[in-house]
């Protein structure tokens, strides 16, 4: 009886400690999932034949976006500019970030450069990167 009572109580203690720890960790970690701190933030969708990459880049006219694909690497670069205001006027508030950015992403396959499609709409850049034919997975049937 004694042992049966003791063991769960230790676990309870441990559980409590763990909860306490994660509470503190959550307090000091950002709201969003941990990620690399590179700009822009990128989401990647993939299937066997292609990958779709979406990046949040508001306020950069599409002419100023530089997108390059070489082999298996996609790079996205550009600059976020601050509105120029005449002398004497000043910003009451400035929260939007400005500056140059350049980010590269390596894919696990060679990209068919001729079939890459990029669109920029509502501040979201979307690039579709198809895999080259030679590297597409082939189904192999087992002979009996």
């Amino acid at each position: 009886m004694y042992r049966r009572y003791r063991i769960p109580s230790v676990w309870q203690e441990m559980n409590q400690m763990q909860q306490e720890m994660s509470k503190w960790l959550n307090l000091y970690s950002p709201q969003r999932m941990e990620s690399t701190r590179a700009y822009p933030a990128i989401n990647i969708w993939a299937d066997e034949e292609s990958a779709i990459i979406a990046a949040e880049i508001p306020g950069v006219p599409k002419e100023n976006l530089e997108i390059n694909v070489t082999g298996d690497t996609l790079s996205v670069g550009g600059e976020r500019l601050l509105d120029e205001i005449p002398e004497g006027a000043r910003y009451h508030r400035q929260e939007r970030i400005t500056g140059k950015f350049d980010r590269s992403i390596q894919l696990p396959y060679t990209v068919d450069v001729n079939k890459v499609q990029a669109t920029y709409k509502n501040g979201i850049l979307k690039v579709i990167l198809p895999r080259i034919e030679a590297e597409k997975p082939k189904k192999i049937t087992v002979k009996s």
Binding site: P30, Q31, R32, M33, S35, T36, R37, A38, Y39, P40, A41, I42, N43, I44, W45, A46, D47, S50, A51, I52, A54, E56, I57, P58, G59, V60, P61, K62, E79, R80, L82, D83, I85, P86, A89, R90, Y91, H92, R93, Q94, E95, R96, I97, T98, G99, K100, F101, Y120, N122, G123, I124
Partner: protein
């Protein structure tokens, strides 16, 4: 010469509401720049991923409220393999002073950025008052 600043990613603040949201996505506070030039206040909000007809701007009493509803992208057959941002709605309110000409507030949305211009009313424009010497 100033070194060009390299961009780092900022955390997007999420609105914490007391009531529960009925939409299944986060609601963010758009990052905003505000400046005033020639009696016109410019308000610039980063709201990526919102369609221009899904933006609601209302002015009630002294509160200018901006809402944007996101369309969460979905690609058939593709699975999300890496995610650094979560698309979501945006909402922010600003207190507007009485000196703003309410009829002349304009809004423009382009490339994920909403720009509002709030001109000061003729009446409220600063006038220089001469002091008469007796």
């Amino acid at each position: 010469m100033t070194e060009p600043k390299t961009l780092g990613l900022q955390d997007q603040e999420i609105i914490k509401e007391e009531t529960e949201r009925t939409r299944d996505c986060h609601c963010y506070i758009p990052r905003t720049d505000i400046y005033e030039v020639n009696e016109i206040i410019h308000v610039i909000l980063d709201m990526p991923g919102i369609d221009s007809n899904a933006i609601e701007i209302t002015l009630e009493k002294n509160v200018l409220n901006v809402k944007g509803y996101a369309q969460i992208p979905d690609f058939d057959n593709h699975t999300l393999v890496s995610s650094e941002y979560e698309p979501g709605d945006f909402e922010r309110s600003f207190r507007v002073s009485d000196s703003i000409d309410r009829e002349k507030i304009k809004a423009n949305y382009k490339d994920g950025v909403l720009r509002l211009t709030l001109p000061r009313a003729e009446m409220a424009k600063t006038r220089k008052i001469e002091i008469k010497a007796n």
